[in-house]
Symmetry: C2
Subunit: 134 residues, 2 copies
Amino acid sequence: MKNENHEVLLEQKGLKKTKVRMALLQHFMGLDHAQSYSDLQTALAKEVDKSTLYRNLTSFEQAGIIHRINDHSGVSKYAFGESPIQGNEHAHFVCECCETVYCMEGLAPLQLKVPKGFKTKKVQTIIRGICAAC
Amino acid sequence: MKNENHEVLLEQKGLKKTKVRMALLQHFMGLDHAQSYSDLQTALAKEVDKSTLYRNLTSFEQAGIIHRINDHSGVSKYAFGESPIQGNEHAHFVCECCETVYCMEGLAPLQLKVPKGFKTKKVQTIIRGICAAC
DNA sequence: TTTATAAATGCAACTAAGTTGCATTTATAT
DNA sequence: ATATAAATGCAACTTAGTTGCATTTATAAA
């Protein structure tokens, strides 16, 4: 991916093109699995301030550039692309061996019957198993 | 539920009958929704030490008395009964209005196709919507 | 009933995630 | 070139959850 693309993306979303954001985009695109805050902190060689990082994750999430995933590990993870609960319906796969989280695109959404009085809006699915790398 | 039942349950699981545990069981049984640490801390009038509470939650979970639920809120919640990923297969319903988490018993587990190299072990489902109380 | 002992409790100190207020810096539109 | 709104960095904070250790308590055995 070229820097050009990142700039266009940020502009589209009305976000200023800053070093931290360019580095973040660079890092997210081309990754096939989700990143925690500490993964990101480690990956972004030039130390980025904690609050700056979190604020950018929030901005990106609101802009639909990334989505936040809760995988039962206790910490949020973030992956490129829109959220499954708005727009891009997909499931998440958590490897029980390496704890890596992948987005599984194109899985049929499921229908579940709920008790009287309850109204389903969205269904979120986490698949646990062993990933291709393990 | 009588105290008798709680005592029997603890004995069955090889756990000592203590005040904190009896109070916890008392609280969990008869509830139709999940509790966070802070819910529990508030509910157990007689202040219980944080680590004692967490340790008991862990013991109860290991004994299959309660199970831990991740509802995307960032904090774990706990509900009476065995875990859906061992034994008691069920989905969790999260109310988008009041954030209450309910266990939905008897929902059919589903088959999802994953990419080559990935192996599914368990599927966890969170249903988001509006609950009967809202 | 007393006593030994292993487990449970309470406390303090800690880690790590995530948030907030504020002063400074920087990207961008004019 | 400059004004301005947004982004950054910093410090201080909150809350979830954990750990080590000394004390207490439930229970089983004498």
